[in-house]
């Protein structure tokens, strides 16, 4: 198996999706490279979540091709689709934890489902270190989702998404609804896990700080297409009004300023 960094891990071509008469995507093209954190941004209702749901097979597609790990995902039968699904993890917006199971049991669900032969002791140990690895306190393991705060639910959801040691991670607005300190901690967590596990991350976000802090490249969704993919400086060079407004609006400028300020501090600290 070739695991070179940089070759495409997800490739979407000519994607068309719609809800009734309302077309969400039309002729959308996107490529995600192995080992990168790709941020996906766009105004509300431009179909960021729909794109993610189309890639992971939750959203019916009208036309187009989607390839993940070099294999087409559309129209595969049950077992083939399951084999592909094993290799990615998904974190939904609210965490989507199973409410009748504890946090540790939630982490065990994918393991039990795909590897029924694992013994209970090992399962418990795997759940334990995954819980701690995602930055949850050890006491959170036997708690039920209803007893957790929003940030802890997201961490628990991330632990479940990472249960199978996936190569590819889908995150749907992981920092939405978190306070700035928790959001920054979550960004760091994603970055460090990405480095440790060699993950590719498909990250939907509204959070400019997240984009600046951890994303290698950013894809911008507008006009039913991906209108630009690249690093933030590359995107800033584009003339599209939405991109300009997004990155050069008051919030965008503030995030840029913070980033530059931090870089300067690093430079002066290093010299």
């Amino acid at each position: 198996m070739v695991r070179a960094k940089g070759d495409p891990i997800i490739s979407v071509q000519g994607l068309k999706t719609s809800f009734g008469d309302q077309v969400v995507h039309d002729g959308l093209e996107l490529e995600v490279r192995r080992g990168e954190i790709l941020g996906v941004v766009g105004g509300s209702g431009t179909g960021k979540s729909v794109l993610m749901r189309a890639i992971i097979g939750l959203q019916p597609v009208d036309a187009g091709d989607i390839t993940v790990f070099g294999e087409p995902t559309l129209g595969r039968d049950g077992t083939e689709a399951t084999e592909i699904r094993k290799r990615w993890g998904v974190l939904f917006q609210g965490g989507a934890l199973f409410s009748t199971l504890t946090v540790a049991e939630n982490v065990q669900v994918p393991l039990r489902e795909f590897y029924p032969k694992l013994d209970q002791a090992l399962l418990d140990e795997i759940a334990a270190y995954k819980v701690v690895m995602t930055g949850l306190p050890a006491e959170a393991g036997p708690k039920f989702p209803a007893e957790l705060s929003g940030g802890m639910k997201k961490r628990a959801g991330l632990a479940r998404a990472l249960a199978l040691d996936p190569e590819l991670l889908f995150l749907d607005e992981p920092t939405a609804g978190l306070d700035p300190i928790s959001a920054a901690a979550f960004d760091e967590l994603i970055q460090s896990l990405q480095k440790t596990l060699g993950l590719t991350v498909f990250l939907i976000t509204h959070d400019l700080d997240t984009l600046y802090a951890i994303c290698d490249r950013v894809a911008v969704l507008a006009d039913k297409k991906v209108i630009g993919v690249g690093t933030i400086p590359e995107l800033l060079a584009m003339a599209h009004p939405w991109i300009q407004e997004y990155f050069n609006g008051p919030r965008g400028r503030a995030a840029t300023a913070t980033l530059e300020h931090e870089r300067e501090k690093e430079k002066s600290g290093a010299s």
Partner: protein, 366 residues
């Protein structure tokens, strides 16, 4: 495909791992390592193809148990092993359970205090509803006419079809069963007494109450519960609108006013159903049937039904609204409270029905 994970023993107390130390290719490696009894001072991982966190965990655990050193990992692998070892903390998977005996005792205790609290809360809510009604009588301008009329439609008019069908069938069943049993004594004619009295006095109102509790009591609880969750009720309070007056009064009033109407309608339809069966199987013509009904059913039977109905309506309405207002925190509670509203409504209706039966016998309406 990469090779399965494996290990072999070396002469100088080193374990040499090979293959792919990943979840998918782990196989029986964890069990074999657990049963491994020999000495192992170093774990040589230079021969492996790939390692993920599960593989790193298995190695970390084994190294810890045998006090062994891990060698031969590349930089990424060493970093991974390091991260996994840092995450080695005891984490419980399930909450601690006490022994089943104390748990059963605890559950009984919880159930008792919970029912006590519910009864207390329900009494309090009854009081609050009465106060809200009193306030509206004093300030009629605060009465929400449109909301109430809308509830009338939802609780009453749209229930006519299902209640009619149910009552019609129950009338037929009573008449049919009555006819079969009474024929053994040559007393088929008394089927008319049976149908007339039981529907007007008991079943018409009781079955309607059960239907209204299932249709509307549950709807009240679900609506108010959802409004509580989305903070609509809090928003109302901050604007200065009393949820008791705006939400509870129209719903309870609709149930109180419509229960007697629906109960009477139900009794009449059941009598029609019974009459049709008598006509078809006992050959009693409808005119005779109606004449006999007027003779054998005392008017007090109608009064009994009509007196009970609004009380049942009030119970169903208040139980539904009360449970809805109890929703806190999460969406799961809406379901639980809705179920509780229906169960409580029907239970209280049947308990009160028993009291009414004793009371009306006592006053001589038999």
């Amino acid at each position: 495909m990469s090779a399965m994970a494996d290990f072999s023993e070396d002469k100088n107390g080193a374990l040499r791992f090979s293959g792919s130390l990943t979840l998918a290719r782990l196989g029986d490696l964890p069990e074999r390592l657990r049963e491994f009894q020999g000495q192992a001072s170093t774990l040589d991982l230079s021969g492996i193809e790939h390692i993920d966190t599960v593989g790193a965990w298995v190695v970390h655990r084994f190294a810890g148990q045998h006090d062994a050193r891990v060698v031969g990992l590349d930089e990424d692998g060493a970093h991974l092993l390091d991260q996994v070892s840092k995450a080695d903390e005891p984490v419980a998977v399930r909450p601690d359970y006490s022994s089943s005996f104390t748990r059963v005792l605890g559950e009984i205790g919880d159930a008792v205090t919970e029912s006590g609290r519910t009864l207390y809360g329900l009494l309090g809510f009854l009081g609050a509803t009465v106060i809200a009604f009193a306030t509206i009588i004093r300030h009629p301008s605060r009465f929400r006419f449109n909301a109430t009329v809308h509830r009338f439609e939802v609780v009453g008019v749209s229930a006519l079809g299902i209640i009619g069908l149910m009552s019609f069938l129950i009338g037929i069943v009573i008449a049919q069963q009555g006819a079969v049993q009474l024929r053994q004594f040559g007393a088929e004619a008394f089927t008319i007494n049976l149908v007339g009295r039981i529907t007007l006095r008991e079943l018409g109102v009781l079955m309607t109450a059960i239907m209204v509790a299932g249709r509307s009591g549950s709807a009240f609880a679900a609506q108010l519960g959802t409004m509580k969750l989305t903070e609509e009720i809090d928003a109302m309070r901050t604007i200065g609108v009393s949820p008791m007056e705006a939400l509870v009064v129209p719903r309870t009033l609709a149930a109180v006013i419509l229960m007697p109407l629906l109960g009477f309608y139900s009794s009449v339809v059941a009598i029609i159903g019974g009459g049709l069966l008598c006509w078809a199987s006992l050959h009693i013509p409808p005119v005779t049937f109606i004449e006999r009904i007027r003779e054998v059913v005392p008017i007090t039977d109608l009064y009994v039904g009509l007196i009970k109905a609004p009380v049942f309506g009030a119970i169903i309405g208040i139980a539904g609204c009360f449970q809805g207002m109890q929703v806190k925190a999460d969406a799961e509670q809406v379901g639980l409270r809705t179920t509780a509203a229906v169960v409580q409504g029907i239970f209280l209706v049947i308990v009160l029905d028993a009291f009414f039966a004793v009371f009306f016998t006592w006053v001589g309406w038999i």
